[in-house]
Amino acid sequence: MATPTMDKVEAEAAASDHLITVTFRIRRFNPEVSADAVWEDFQLEIDPKERVLDGLHKIKWDLDGTLTFRRSCAHGICGSDAMRINGKNRLACKTLIKDINPAKPITVEPIKGLTVLKDLVVDMDPFFQAYRDVMPFLVTSGNEPTRERLQSAEDRERFDDTTKCILCAACTSSCPVFWNDGQYFGPAAIVNAHRFIFDSRDEAGEQRLEILNDKDGVWRCRTTFNCTDACPRGIEVTKAIQEVKRALITRRF
């Protein structure tokens, strides 16, 4: 069992009571109070190994209870806390303070392209509607087998990447096409269509492809790769979109 790195981790942890002062610069909006959004600065002491979400909690719990954001699992699984941190879409619970240059103010804004409802909370309904529109469920015909359907490990691997999606909207709300036209399905919906189009058990690939052949479908993608950069699950989103485009041309999937 190797331990050298551990010594480093533990040495750092031993010194972990060392806190730094950081400034959170947060985009605030509450239509109950004012029609305009404003920037507000908060200074706090924090361990740089803590998460941006921990910083937001410190503000909410100790400084200003009105600060509003969504969160739940706090370790990158539930997809509640996608936000724009220093200009980039990330999950607040997967972003450590030390990794985003705490010497400068840390800017935190709601994700773009969806209506802001209060502070960092946006209206997720259009996002989930686009998801529902691509038939995100397995479609089969004929009698069900008594046991499981068989699938080779290779066929299972074919769509593994897109099964990781947590519907956080980091990709869709990083897409310039989506910012300009909310009618575009957006990367996340295409990722979830991909997950079924390339599943060997599914029989509705053609229908999903036709849905995405629409004027608001995959052809709107300009391959800027923002979505791939933004995905907190490391899904190759742009590649998945390209694979759907190719399937539309070749009708092979």
Partner: protein, 584 residues
């Protein structure tokens, strides 16, 4: 105030709630009320797998699974329920596969299976491969698959609706469910849902601990709503501490890591589980492993400058195996600890993980108002409920199983009931309790802060009612909780608005946690024995003569308005397996 009418209302949209919703929507007009968006539920954080004796990779059968579940629960399991769990597990897994769940596959194309703690061949001979899995994100796949099927079935969701009260009406001396009262986060509006049947599937209570694998939102809202209306809570002293949480953070690292061959080591590099569980070693049941870890730490063999953790060692496993089978947890180690699990062991400590206790139900998911009486129209399933299939300690992979088997059963039973039942008339002012709760908190000018009380609660729970307990530590917790409950009366919130007032909701959630923490501590104090997840250093042995029985805790309100807890007990259902000493 708005009034809605549905045949069936489901509270919660995690695994149990959505599994119930798929069944209930086919049979009745159903609404699902959830305080989060459905795919945010904590089912998605489950990693290692779902147990079922498919026997795809080696000999296995559901009777062995039944036995392991009963033994794992230290014989406090209701054996009729465990039998149903293990028997229906096979169809539950196959149903999910047919719904589209992308399980890992064997070379033959069938569902692959791996080892997990406490699951054995032939009554404890050796570990068996029983856990059906999808890498280390099985819960994520279950949650997504169930949501996908809810979309397919057209399930009607009310997202970000917090259920804060359970309406109970007494007719001819029988307590019946009339519906629920919910608070809409977006607007602050209060909604009454009149329903013939209500199913609670709102998850656990782990947030009363500090080091926990649980989400911030796991605050026992369903348990608290029922308890406040005079319904009992069963076996609340039994809480599971998962052996491998990330040191200090509590983030779960799946037992599947040990199922794949991972080893726990102390500061000397010793594989200490060999001492405590010679057969199952690192794959002994979770309560046994967590106690062993703390024994190592207490005896000075913990790691780090403060000797306060041990290592989960995966360094001997091929990187390809880690990438294929454990991609998420290795990423957690990299993200949150900055270490590389290919080459370095991961510092871990036990983390508060799962409530074995909850709202008592029978095997149809019907809620009980005492040891035997059913509350017509009221159901519960999943972590919020206590069937009891987990007894004093749940086996890994049995919770993803529980939500599917009993979520399905509760959904069917509720919808069939609502098909033939009439509405129970709503009480005169159905939203009264919720309105006064919300107004009182919003208008309060008290000086106490939610964050302070919650922090002190979590600290006292970690210090006093975690893996090791004594009469003295539990009494300390009981006194502290009483003090915090008194201070809570003087709590105020800063956000006075109606729109997305999460400040207010956190205050309400804290009230739930305080009530449930008290039930847990009082139940633990009275159980003068050690069994499963409840370990009393002053009573280190299991005492079947006096305590082979479920705890039933009731809230009693005196004439002066003061509340207290009354404890009663319920017999354990034993069918085929006589209690034996538990050895791994």
């Amino acid at each position: 105030m708005k009034i809605h009418k549905y045949d069936t209302v489901i509270v919660g949209a995690g695994g149990a709630g959505m599994r119930a919703a798929i069944e209930a929507t086919k049979r009745s007009r159903t609404a699902v009320l959830t305080k989060l968006y459905p795919t945010r539920s904590h089912t998605g954080a489950a990693q290692g797998g779902m147990a079922a004796a498919l026997a795809n990779v080696e000999e296995d059968n559901w009777e062995w699974h039944t036995f392991d579940t009963i033994k794992g629960g230290d014989y406090l399991v209701d054996q009729d329920a465990a039998e149903i769990l293990a028997k229906e597990a096979i169809d539950a897994v196959l149903d999910l596969e047919k719904m589209g769940l992308p399980f890992n596959r064997t070379p033959d194309g069938t569902i692959d299976q791996r080892r997990f703690g406490g699951h054995s061949r032939n009554h404890g001979e050796a570990p068996v491969r029983r856990s059906c899995y999808a890498a280390d994100r099985t819960g994520h796949m279950i949650l997504q698959t169930l949501y996908q099927n809810c979309v397919k079935e057209g399930v009607e969701f009310f997202n970000e609706f917090y259920v804060l009260d359970q309406l109970i009406v007494e007719e001819d001396g029988v307590k019946k469910s009339a519906g629920v009262v919910a608070y809409e986060l977006a607007t602050g509006e209060i909604h009454v849902f009149q329903a013939k049947a209500v199913v609670y599937a709102s998850g656990g209570t782990g947030k009363f601990f500090k080091v926990t694998s649980n989400a911030h939102t796991l605050t026992g809202d369903g348990q608290a709503a029922c308890y406040r209306r005079g319904l009992p809570l069963e076996d609340m002293e039994f809480f599971q501490f998962h052996p491998t949480g990330i040191w200090r953070m509590g983030i779960l690292l799946t037992e599947g890591a040990r199922g794949e061959g991972g080893i726990l080591r102390n500061k000397d590099g010793e594989r200490f589980m060999e001492k405590y569980a010679p057969v199952m070693k690192d794959l002994a049941s979770r309560d046994v492993v967590s106690r062993s870890i703390y024994t190592e730490i207490r005896e000075g063999r913990g790691c780090g400058p403060e000797g306060d953790h041990v290592y989960l060692d995966l360094t001997h496993l091929p990187p390809e195996q880690l990438d294929a089978k454990l991609p998420d947890i290795t990423e957690f180690a990299r993200t949150y600890l900055g270490i590389e699990p290919y080459t370095d062991p991961i510092p871990i400590q036990p983390t508060a993980h799962y409530a074995m206790g909850g709202i008592p139900t029978n095997v149809e998911g019907e809620v009980l108002s005492d040891n035997t009486t059913v509350v017509p129209g009221l159901y519960a399933a999943g972590e919020v409920a206590c069937v009891s299939v987990h007894g004093a300690n749940r086996l890994g992979t049995n919770s993803l199983l529980d939500i599917n088997v009993f979520g399905r059963r509760a959904g069917i039973a509720a919808a069939e009931y609502s098909a033939q039942a009439d509405y129970v008339e709503l009480p005169e002012n159905p939203a009264e309790l919720v309105v006064s709760l919300v107004e009182q908190l919003r208008d309060s000018t008290g000086t106490e802060r939610v964050a302070d009380i919650r922090k002190e609660l979590q600290e006292t729970m970690d210090a006093n009612v975690m893996v090791f307990r004594t009469e003295q530590t539990i009494k300390t917790a009981v006194e502290k909780i009483a003090e915090l409950r008194a201070r809570y009366q003087n709590v105020s919130v800063q956000d006075k608005g109606k729109r997305f007032n999460t400040d207010l909701l956190e205050a309400i959630e804290l009230g739930n946690l305080l009530d449930l923490a008290e039930v847990m501590a009082v139940s633990a104090l009275a159980r003068k024995e050690s069994r499963g997840g409840h370990y009393r250093e002053d009573y280190p042995n299991r005492d079947d003569v006096n305590f082979m029985r479920h705890t039933m805790a009731y809230r009693e309100v005196a004439d002066d308005g003061k509340d207290s807890i009354r404890l009663d007990y319920k017999p354990v259902v034993q069918t085929r397996y006589q209690p034996m000493e538990r050895k791994y």
